[in-house]
Symmetry: C2
Subunit: 295 residues, 2 copies
């Protein structure tokens, strides 16, 4: 088994190539929209969701040529949500991955359409590429991603997030928000990767539990990093949540307890993988990566 | 055969019921988002795309219980595009179907998320409901709608539209824009309705040609109505295109020639249906309706 860092780099290079190929070329009309879509998606990001999809695909013995397209679909949904989230009507952020956000580099109307078109492209890929053993499974994958993205998934989480600004949320409410806002799509990444191969119901349930722990851990660590790191390290505006008076794991628990919570969630994630043996090693490493990352 | 007006009313009532059922209830969290989604979709609109889907379903002998869900998916894409289109970053319109637009009635962030979540819901329905004879056909339907919605379909058409403000487009460029902006989704409505039943390739090609004519006719008539009608009759701000210095069929051709063009497109649409016989009667009536409508 190659070391974790070599594996992530190989996956990141692969997903970058697939995304570059799936996104319409900038020379195709409407050029400016396609240029902005490529700007929004390519050349940056940790690609955590694709990494999770690739790792889950290893558990189900999936062909990596299939998984890469499922991973691309999930990453496009993630990318669209960042573009819309950064807009003045939402978080009003000028910096993302160390570059001007799409509405700053282009304009607001283009950013709106970029997000809309990236979402369509995600479903186009999921329906067009051969991804699963049969069409019925692939339809289920479309359904999974649609539900993870919609009002009872990611978009719903963002609505709850917006409604929470300046409001005292308790831990249960904060968790409810994050299960939707980031958790739903992370779960989709894991399950879509797994669906490209074949697994029994018990294994799917284990992966589902793993994904839930990782999703929350990811957010807890994000809050810790946002509270502690500098803008230069993060590549996005730091300390923004506190400035916006948004409830976070750090504001509710303090940094020390938030760090402990992330460790507990990592342990839970590992425990969920216990029955899956050696093929789940990448998922274990990803749990470590999510909790130990500094950016 | 019941008369056309009774048929459209029955279809409109049916699609209203299906949409009301597919949209999450306002009491489900996040309540405000779900309330705004229902506000955006329910209780208005001519439902032209669902009518086209129902009529195309009659040609392919499709079960209406299937077609209604394909029709709902297309209408949700249309509804989301209106919500985003009306936002200040795009057309900045305060009135739609005689009611305040979503960002006016709620707020901009909610309008953004409403559009995003309606798009996801469309694909959720298309993947979850039993719509076609086999899963492979249904996957093809997802692909069709995704491509019609994306950067080489509706969203792309809006990008071209934005880029055209204040620019002298010729007729070819205007047509290119509308084939994307409205034509792609109207084509998807017809083809999705047809895919719920079964038809040979030749018939699909005829329907495709019909849809292209109807899509353009719809836009030509829209331009004529926008130039002539009052805000009260239209239920949206009239004369806006001229005020925004947007090229339209009326600004390029004048009202008289634009009306003639609509009639020619109607004749072409009828001709495309010639081989399809009696089951295509509703599609013929819809071509007449699209050209003769006054609102």
């Amino acid at each position: 088994m190659t070391d974790f860092s070599a594996w992530t780099q190989a996956c990141q290079a692969r997903i970058e190539g697939v995304l570059a190929e799936c996104l319409p070329a900038s020379r195709i009309a409407p050029q400016r929209l396609h240029e902005a879509m490529r700007y929004a998606v390519l050349g940056g990001g940790k690609r955590v969701r694709p990494l999770l999809a690739f790792a889950a695909g290893e558990v189900s013995g999936a062909d990596v040529g299939r998984v890469q397209h499922a991973a691309a679909a999930v990453e496009l949904i993630h990318a669209y949500s960042l573009v819309h989230d950064d807009m003045p009507a939402m978080d009003d952020d000028a910096l993302r991955r160390g570059k001007p956000t799409v509405h700053v580099e282009f304009d607001e109307a283009t950013a709106l359409l970029v997000g809309d078109a990236l979402q369509s492209l995600a479903f186009d890929i999921l329906a067009s590429q051969p991804l699963a053993d049969d069409a019925a499974t692939q339809l289920k994958m479309v359904q999974l991603l649609a539900q993870a993205s919609g009002s009872r998934g990611m978009a719903g989480g963002q609505a709850i997030d917006l409604a929470s600004v300046g409001k005292p949320l308790d831990l249960t409410e904060l968790e409810f928000m994050h299960i939707h806002k980031t958790g739903a799509l992370i779960r989709a990444a894991v399950l879509l990767g797994a669906h490209c191969g074949s697994l029994d119901e018990t294994a799917h349930t284990s992966l589902d539990h793993y994904a839930k722990c990782i999703g929350l851990a990811f957010q807890v660590v994000d809050d810790v990093l946002d509270a502690e790191a500098s803008t230069a390290t993060l590549g996005k505006t730091a300390g923004k949540d506190a400035a916006d008076n948004k409830p976070t794991y750090v504001s509710l628990l303090g940094v020390t307890r938030a760090r402990e919570l992330a460790q507990e969630l990592r342990a839970d994630a590992h425990a969920a993988l216990a029955e899956l043996g050696a093929p789940a090693e990448r998922l274990r490493q990803l749990a470590d990566f999510v909790v130990e990352r500094t950016f």
